[in-house]
Each structure stands twice: as structure tokens, then as C-alpha cells.
């Protein structure tokens, strides 16, 4: 019974709960049983809220019994990446420096989830301050890939992807600055969407790269992604960078989901795909075949500046990060060093003791590229290249409605494999970063497995604020396969 329950998608569960066929309390209890069984192996959660979740679930069941109106995610147990603020627990960003930080406010997306009657299961693990591609940079705990416990779940939203893959929640929220939703989603065989920059409010998302960060859903099906996007998308007065409804109105992303868009034309960049592992190339190629068989035209395009995205990203993101993380100083909140000799050491020792290596590296890189004498050569240059990369997308979308490519050059790599060479780790973001630089929406959907039975993800990108179309393109492929129904051996 619990197996059947956990196989339901969010949408199916929500409908069942609304119809009274399933109780949210039962679903929630089942999720927590799953957590008890598999969390010791997977380590997806930094904190869980069993009592509170059950209370929320009871309230939903109660509303339904009394015939009162319920929200779009009523009774569905979901998880939240631990870099989004909540009032009912800690928000650690997987860092010692915020290990005991309790925010006095909820992130905008959390408010929306609560208003939609979702049940919050817990906060998931991440690379510290979302800086990383494997979740190995977490300062608090280790998360592994449910498909192979010796491998990384991807990052930085590794905890969210692992929790969803292991059925330890029905869906999760992640954040994506350079691929941090899409890459772990692909490593863990789930769907992961990075919305258009400005589509979802960033208020309450602990900032890493402010002009690049977006919150998005990690789910098992495309319909679930649409369901959650319906809840979290929209203008927020508290976020000056969230787009107004006049310029880009939110629509119902579920409404036409099963209608494939007409006149679809896919653009692919063959030189780019060549950089991926053989098994990944094979899976991508097979997915494209499916589209071809559905009558979709596929054309070769070029994106001449794509290759420069990693370099531009690591200058822009680290510059913004060095500034965004300056506030962690042991003065107003967070970790303070126990024995500072003067007030300057409160800063320099607290930060040295509280931050992990990758965070320090990025802060220093960012400080360096913004500093006097280097600003033009590095930061300003990167902003110009960013414009060129956005230009590549604009041009691409003149001749096709979407671009497709791998999410990652490899499938999930072994724990410890890339951790000693930061640059090697950065280079694995080659396919995902450009979308953040250009601000366009991008999704990762499961498209097969490699010879080691590890999931492969297909990435689809469309123009800004066209999530509705993007999801329909994803759905038309999903309908043709069963990848999303496969389960990791661990939980069978």
C-alpha cells in the first residue's frame, strides 16, 4: 500500500486527497516511514519536521472533511532546499556559519507552498551556500545518490533530488544558479526546472549569485513541475527583480500540458554534444529520435559563445557571492568565533572557522575580480561576454522554438572523484550555465540510463517566460517513455 502511495505523482496524490480517497496524514506518515528506512543511507535531509508535518496534514484532512476550500498542493508532502528561509526551523545553507540560524520570516515561495496547503517535510542538504556541483561541499553532512550510494547526487540541490528519487517526499524545491537544479535532477533521474530569471520570487532565498539564482521544482513528472510552478510563479513586491504580471503574466501551466506545440522546431549544437560521454550522447540521440518520430523538425545551429559561459559565470557569480556573503560576520546572527582578540577578528576568524573551502575560494575569487585594477579586465569583461551569450540564444530562437542538449557531460560521478580539483568540477557545468547567464528557462527530464544504470538527463531550453511551451515540449517526450517510473534499486 505504501509503495503504491509513494508511486503517486503529486498531482495524483493531491487529487486523491481532495476526493477523500487518501488522507494526507497517511501520505505524510508513509513519507516519514520512508525517511526512517532510507535516510540513514541517503542522507538527503538536514532537518525534518515530523510533528509539524502531521499537524499540517491533519489540518488539510480536516478542511476536506468539512468541505472547506483547499489549495493546489493540499496535503502533498514536499521538501525545501535548506537555503530558503523558514520560521518553523533552522535555515543552515549547509554551513556551520548558519547552523543555528532561525529566520523570523518565511521565504516567498514557502509562504506560497503553505498557502497552497502543502505539507512541509523538511530541509534538504546542499553544497554549502549552493556553491558546488555534487553536494560534497556541504558543511554539515553527506548526501549520496540513491541510484548508487558510492556516487554523488549532483549539486548543489543534491538533497532535494535524492529525496525525490528515493521517494522520501513527493516533490522538492531547489535553487539553480549555474545548473544546481538541473544537474542533480539528471543525476537522480528526476525532472528539474530552472524557471526564467524573475519568474519566481527570490525573497527568502539565501543569495549566492543574485543575477543568476532562481528557485524551481524537482519532481518525478512534468505535470508535477507544472503544478508546483503554478503555485510558486508570480510577481512579488518584496523582490525588485521579480517580473510584473503586465510584462509576463503567469498562466496555468497544467491547462494545455498534454497538447504538443505545433510547428515545433528543435535546435541542437553538435559540437557541444561531442563533449559528452558516449552513453550520454547515445541517450540524447535516442531522445531526439523520439521527437523526430513525432514529426518534429530538428536543425543544427551554432552558439559560438557557449564555450565561454563557464569563464564568464565564475567571474560574475563569484563577484556577486563575495558581496552577498560579506554579511556573515558573527556580529548580528550566525556563528561567532569564541575568542576574538579584537573586533576585526570577530569577522576574520568567524568567517574562517564557519565557511568551508569552496566558499572561501569563491569569496576570494570574487573579491579579487572586483578589486581595484582588476574590475575591467575580469568582471566587466564577463558582463560583456554575458551579453554575447544571451545574443546566441536570441539568434537561436529566431530559427527554432527550443534548444536541446545534455544536462551534464557525464552521469553521476564517484564521491571524491572531482573534489580535489575545483576547476575540473567547474567544467562539468558546461551545459547548464549558459541558461543562467541568459536568464532563459531550462528543464532537465529523464531520458534513459547509461551502462552503469545511472540516469541521464535531457535538457530543453526555450525563450524567456515561455515555461508553458517548455513544459509541453517536455511532456510530449515523457508520454513516450517510462523513465520517470523507474526506481533506484535501493528502494525497490
Amino acid at each position: 500500500m505504501s509503495d503504491e502511495l509513494l508511486n503517486l505523482s503529486c498531482k495524483e496524490l493531491r487529487d486523491a486527497i481532495a476526493a477523500g480517497r487518501v488522507k494526507s496524514v497517511a501520505a505524510t506518515e508513509t513519507v516519514f516511514e520512508q525517511i526512517e528506512k532510507y535516510e540513514p543511507s541517503v542522507g538527503a535531509y538536514i532537518s525534518t519536521f515530523k510533528e509539524q508535518a502531521l499537524t499540517q496534514a491533519r489540518q488539510v484532512d480536516d478542511k476536506i472533511t468539512k468541505g472547506r476550500p483547499i489549495g493546489a498542493l493540499a496535503g502533498v508532502p514536499v521538501a525545501i532546499k535548506d537555503n530558503m528561509c523558514i520560521t518553523f526551523g533552522a535555515t543552515t545553507c549547509a554551513s556551520k556559519i548558519l547552523e543555528n540560524f532561525h529566520a523570523p520570516y518565511n521565504a516567498a515561495v514557502v509562504e506560497r507552498l503553505l498557502a497552497a496547503d502543502a505539507v512541509i517535510v523538511g530541509k534538504t542538504n546542499l553544497d554549502e551556500f549552493a556553491m558546488g556541483s555534487s553536494t560534497e561541499n556541504s558543511g554539515l553532512k553527506k548526501t549520496v545518490n540513491p541510484w548508487d550510494l558510492s556516487r554523488v547526487p549532483g549539486g548543489s540541490s543534491g538533497g532535494s533530488a535524492a529525496a525525490v528519487a528515493a521517494r522520501m517526499c513527493f516533490a522538492a524545491l531547489g535553487s539553480d544558479t549555474g545548473g544546481s537544479i538541473r544537474q542533480p535532477a539528471s543525476f537522480c533521474g528526476t525532472v528539474g526546472l530552472k524557471p526564467t530569471y524573475g519568474r519566481v520570487s527570490r525573497f527568502g532565498l539565501v543569495a549566492y549569485g543574485s543575477s543568476l539564482d532562481q528557485i524551481g521544482p524537482v519532481t518525478r513528472t512534468v505535470a508535477d513541475t507544472a503544478l508546483i510552478l503554478n503555485v510558486i510563479a508570480g510577481h512579488d513586491q518584496k523582490d525588485s527583480t521579480s517580473i510584473s504580471e503586465q510584462i509576463a503574466p503567469v498562466c496555468d501551466y497544467l491547462e494545455k500540458l498534454d497538447e504538443p506545440p505545433k510547428g515545433l522546431k528543435i535546435g541542437i549544437v553538435p559540437q557541444l554534444n561531442e563533449g559528452a560521454e558516449q552513453d550520454v550522447r547515445k541517450a540524447i540521440g535516442e531522445a531526439l529520435e523520439v521527437y523526430r518520430n513525432l514529426g518534429v523538425e530538428i536543425a543544427e545551429i551554432t552558439m559560438p559563445h557557449f564555450d565561454y559561459s563557464i569563464a564568464a559565470y565564475y567571474l560574475i557569480a563569484t563577484a556577486e557571492a563575495s558581496s552577498n556573503l560579506a554579511r556573515y560576520d558573527g556580529v548580528h546572527y550566525g556563528y561567532r568565533t569564541p575568542r576574538p582578540n579584537d573586533y576585526i577578528e570577530v569577522y576574520s576568524k568567524s568567517r574562517a572557522e564557519g565557511f568551508g573551502g569552496e566558499v572561501k575560494r569563491r569569496i576570494m575569487l570574487g573579491t579579487y575580480v572586483l578589486s581595484s585594477g582588476y574590475y575591467d579586465a575580469y568582471y566587466l569583461k564577463a558582463l560583456k561576454v554575458r551579453n554575447l551569450i544571451r545574443g546566441d540564444f536570441t539568434k537561436a530562437f529566431e530559427s527554432c522554438n527550443c534548444v536541446m542538449m545534455p544536462v551534464s557531460p557525464t552521469t553521476a560521478f564517484k564521491i571524491g572523484e572531482k573534489i580535489d580539483d575545483p576547476l575540473q568540477m567547474y567544467l562539468s557545468d558546461v551545459y547548464t550555465i549558459a541558461a543562467n547567464l541568459a536568464g532563459v528557462p531550462a528543464i532537465s527530464i529523464p531520458c534513459g540510463f547509461d551502462s552503469k544504470n545511472l540516469p541521464v538527463g535531457l535538457q530543453i531550453l526555450t525563450p524567456a517566460f515561455t515555461e508553458e511551451k517548455l513544459l509541453r515540449i517536455a511532456r510530449m517526450y515523457e508520454k513516450q517513455n517510462q523513465w520517470h517510473l523507474k526506481k533506484p534499486a535501493l528502494i525497490k
Partner: protein, 487 residues
């Protein structure tokens, strides 16, 4: 030591607190003198995940001020982060404006001696957020209060066009007058609404060659007096220093000195180990501001006549003295009230006297402004007319003024009630004068005799008439009658 020939070169950096309801980037109330950390929210506390949202009023106040300072308003302006670490700066960066400030290239006119004016050029005016406050507790640690963190601040930077402490003070006073007139700031220096940092150096003539001393920035000035004195002190100190060391201005040898108000000297502040590298870059959390023609005109239409223009107009149109016109235009409300009274028929000079003497005295006693005393302009006009016509004496008018404030009755009602109406009827007074002259023949003789006794006797006779009328005779009229009768 022979006095060297020199010219003082002074520029000012001014920070003005805007009196909006809320802070620059969050909706915390701007109130002063409250319990520490009681006006703080996650945004101005710089908590993880928070984002700034711009206060529209603050931007409009900035535009208004920039227009009043004759600046060009930038049609496209943006926000930048200025990074440095300090406990009163929760994000460890300040949101400010760097390369595209909201306005540039203006000037402010200051009044010099002898009715001349001088234009001091303004390089730029931009908006930023203020930091909180560090307090040094006696117990060996420091305390941080963030109530002020995030308050909207206007930064005004002048060219080094001032050449004396007096000019610096004149600029400071004029700027205060302007922002108060516009209603954008209370500009009370004691409350920290306005902060001044002069940058001073000297150009000294040494053997026909111009030598520039290193620039000194002075901080910690809490009054106009301190501002003026610190500039004067610095000029003298730099002269001495140059005479001793011959040190001249070089890149990187600008220093900061703090004003010690108790001892009235400037003190070198701890040398910073590294010059600040603020690492300015565009704030990714805020979008740019584009000023349309429509918006600009809307703001421009809110621009009122500036105090200096008003002052000059009072002098030329009403014949007031520069000083009096200055007093009337120190506060906008006072000037507005004055003009209402004049419109209602009050004679300007008379009204001016009433307002600046009795009016200000009463206002000070009550701790409010003249306009807040609650007098109707037409009552003030009536009172002025009564004095002008000799219906009441100037002394009596003070009493009447006070009573109007107390009772809200009209001037004529009060004058009658308290028996303050002067007797000015020449016929009636003439009879009384006749009587007094008859009763005091010796005095009459003394007056007619001329000489020293004459003046005293005249005064005595006047006094007698005043006594007989219970002090209500119009002394001017009496004097005239006496003069006629005693020739």
C-alpha cells in the same frame, strides 16, 4: 614667523537625512530617539535572503533637492554596492550610487558680506542608505544599534570652491535652509540629520611658487560652529605644518582628522592600513531608474521659490533689511505666514517687526514655530494696521499679540477689553495738553527758555499728559500738539 601668503581651498561633502516616513529600501519607520534596535526588520538587518525595494518618495525628494541645487537630473541612474566591513553596516556593503548618480553639475548661491553672492559648484548629488550607530560603552566593548541603518541619505559633493570658514558656514546654513524649505529634511544638525565633512588644503605662495598642502578631511562635526571653527583651525594648522615640514600634496597622502569639540582642535585619526578598496559594482538586486520627461516636470512643478530668492524679493519689494528678510525666510512656514498677512493688507515692515520680535519670542516660549501659534493671518494684518494707524501703541501691540494667542479673540476686541486703544484724537488730547500746560507753568518756561532744561521739561510735560490719560495717549500726537503750543 613671517606669515606666508596663502589661499584656503575647501570643498564640502554633505549628508542629508531625508524625512520620508520609511527607510530607503524597507518599510521600517524613520523615528528618532527610540529604544535601540526597535525599528529594524530583516531587510535593514541584512538577514540571509532579504532583498531591497526602493522608496519612491525618497527618490522624488532627491530629485526635488537636486533641482533646487540647479543640477542636471540623470535620465538613467542605477544602484551600486560599496563594500567595506563595519559593525554598523549589517550587509557589510552600502547600497549607494557610483558612476551614474541621479544628478550632477549644479550650484548653490551663498550670500557674502555686502550683499554679494557667490556660486559654489556642486559636482554631484546621489542617494544612498545610512549605516546604524556604534556606541562605545564604558565597559570595554561596543554596542550596535541598527535603527538608523537603511535610512535614506542624500550625499552632496561640492567642488572646492570655498575659500574661508565663513563661506563654508554660509553654504551649510543655506543648504539647511533650502532642504527645510523644500520639506525634504528637518536638517537638524544636533539630531544628526545633516553631516558635514570639509576637505581642506592650502595653496601657499613660497618664493613665487604655488605649493599645495596635503588635503585633510575633517569628521565628527555636530554644529555649524564646529564646522566653521574646524576649518579655521585646520587652515592655521596646515600653515604651521607647512612652515615646519614643507610637506606638499601627493597621491595618497590625504588624511582624515577628527574634530575634538572640547579642545577645539583636529586630531589625526588612526592611519588606515590600506586605503579603502570599495569594489563598487552594480547591485544585482535593484533595477535601474529611468526618469521620464513627464515625471521630471511633475517634480519640477513642486519646486517652490527658493529661500534666497524669496529673501531678495522681500528686500526689493517690501524694503525689508537683509537681516529681517533672512529671519523671515529661515523657515518656510514663517515666510508663508508672513506673505498671507501681507496679502490680507498688513504693512510688510510692520508685520515683519511683529513676527520677528514678539512672534518669535512667543514661539520660543511655547516651543513651536510662529506659524503654529494659531493666529489667523487676517487678525495679524488687522493688528499691524492698528499700530500703523496709531490706534494702539507699539508696546500695546505686544500685549495684544499675546492675548490673541491665548484667547483667539480679534485684535480690536482685545484692545477694547483691555483698554489699550490709544487716544489719538487731536481735539481731545489738545484739551488735556492745555490743562497740563496751565498746571505746570515752570515747566513751560523751561521749555521756552531753550538750553539743557528744555528737553527735560518737554519730557516731563509729555509724561504728565500720559499720566492724565492713564497711559493711553498717543505719544506721537501729544508731542506734536506740545510742539505746536510751545513755540
Amino acid at each position: 614667523m613671517a606669515q606666508l601668503q596663502y589661499k584656503a581651498v575647501i570643498g564640502l561633502e554633505i549628508h542629508v537625512h531625508l524625512c520620508t516616513e520609511t527607510k530607503m529600501f524597507c518599510s521600517c519607520a524613520l523615528e528618532y530617539g527610540l529604544e535601540a534596535n526597535s525599528r529594524v526588520c530583516p531587510v535593514c538587518l541584512g538577514m540571509p535572503g532579504v532583498l531591497p525595494v526602493m522608496n519612491k518618495h525618497a527618490f522624488e525628494y532627491a530629485m526635488l533637492t537636486a533641482l533646487a541645487l540647479n543640477c542636471e537630473i540623470s535620465r538613467f541612474t542605477k544602484w551600486d554596492r560599496k563594500s567595506y566591513y563595519y559593525p554598523d553596516l549589517p550587509k557589510n556593503y552600502q547600497i549607494s550610487q557610483y558612476d551614474l548618480p541621479m544628478s550632477r553639475n549644479g550650484f548653490i548661491e551663498i550670500a557674502l558680506e555686502g550683499g554679494l553672492t557667490k556660486k559654489i559648484r556642486i559636482i554631484r548629488v546621489h542617494l544612498e542608505e545610512d549605516a546604524g550607530k556604534n556606541l562605545h560603552s564604558a565597559k570595554g566593548f561596543s554596542q550596535v544599534d541598527l535603527n538608523r541603518a537603511g535610512a535614506p541619505l542624500l550625499e552632496i559633493v561640492t567642488e572646492p570652491d570655498m575659500n574661508s570658514p565663513e563661506e563654508v558656514r554660509a553654504l551649510a546654513v543655506e543648504l539647511q535652509r533650502i532642504v527645510r524649505h523644500l520639506g525634504v529634511s528637518e536638517a537638524d544638525m544636533q539630531k544628526g540629520h545633516m553631516r558635514f565633512e570639509p576637505n581642506i588644503n592650502l595653496v601657499i605662495d613660497k618664493d613665487g611658487k604655488d605649493c599645495k598642502t596635503p588635503i585633510v578631511e575633517v569628521k565628527n562635526l555636530n554644529s555649524f560652529r564646529a564646522l566653521e571653527r574646524s576649518v579655521a583651525y585646520e587652515i592655521a594648522r596646515q600653515l604651521d605644518e607647512f612652515a615646519e615640514t614643507g610637506l606638499v600634496m601627493e597621491i595618497g597622502n590625504k588624511t582624515t582628522r577628527g574634530w575634538d569639540d572640547a579642545n577645539e582642535i583636529t586630531v589625526l585619526q588612526r592611519e588606515k592600513e590600506e586605503a579603502h578598496d570599495y569594489r563598487y559594482f552594480p547591485d544585482p538586486d535593484l533595477v535601474p531608474v529611468e526618469v521620464s520627461d513627464q515625471w521630471l516636470e511633475q517634480i519640477r512643478s513642486r519646486l517652490c521659490e527658493l529661500p534666497i530668492k524669496k529673501q531678495m524679493r522681500y528686500v526689493s519689494d517690501y524694503g525689508l533689511s537683509d537681516y529681517d528678510a533672512g529671519v523671515l525666510t529661515a523657515e518656510r512656514a514663517m515666510a508663508d505666514f508672513f506673505e498671507e498677512v501681507v496679502k490680507d493688507g498688513g504693512e510688510p515692515k510692520r508685520v515683519c517687526n511683529l513676527l520677528t520680535q514678539t512672534g518669535l519670542k512667543l514661539a520660543n516660549e511655547k516651543g513651536c514655530s510662529v506659524a503654529e501659534l494659531g493666529i489667523k493671518p487676517k487678525d495679524m494684518a488687522e493688528l499691524a494696521k492698528m499700530v500703523e494707524d496709531g490706534q494702539v501703541s507699539a508696546t500695546a501691540s505686544t500685549t495684544i499679540f499675546e492675548k490673541i494667542v491665548e484667547t483667539a479673540k480679534s485684535p480690536i476686541q482685545i484692545a477694547e477689553e483691555f483698554n489699550l486703544v490709544q487716544k489719538s484724537d487731536a481735539g481731545e488730547l489738545g484739551k488735556i495738553v492745555e490743562q497740563v500746560l496751565k498746571d505746570n507753568p515752570q515747566a513751560v518756561d523751561d521749555v521756552k527758555s531753550g538750553g539743557k532744561k528744555s528737553k527735560k521739561a518737554r519730557g516731563f510735560l509729555l509724561g504728565q499728559v500720559m499720566q492724565k490719560t492713564g497711559g493711553r495717549a498717543n505719544p506721537k500726537v501729544v508731542s506734536e500738539i506740545l510742539a505746536k503750543k510751545l513755540t
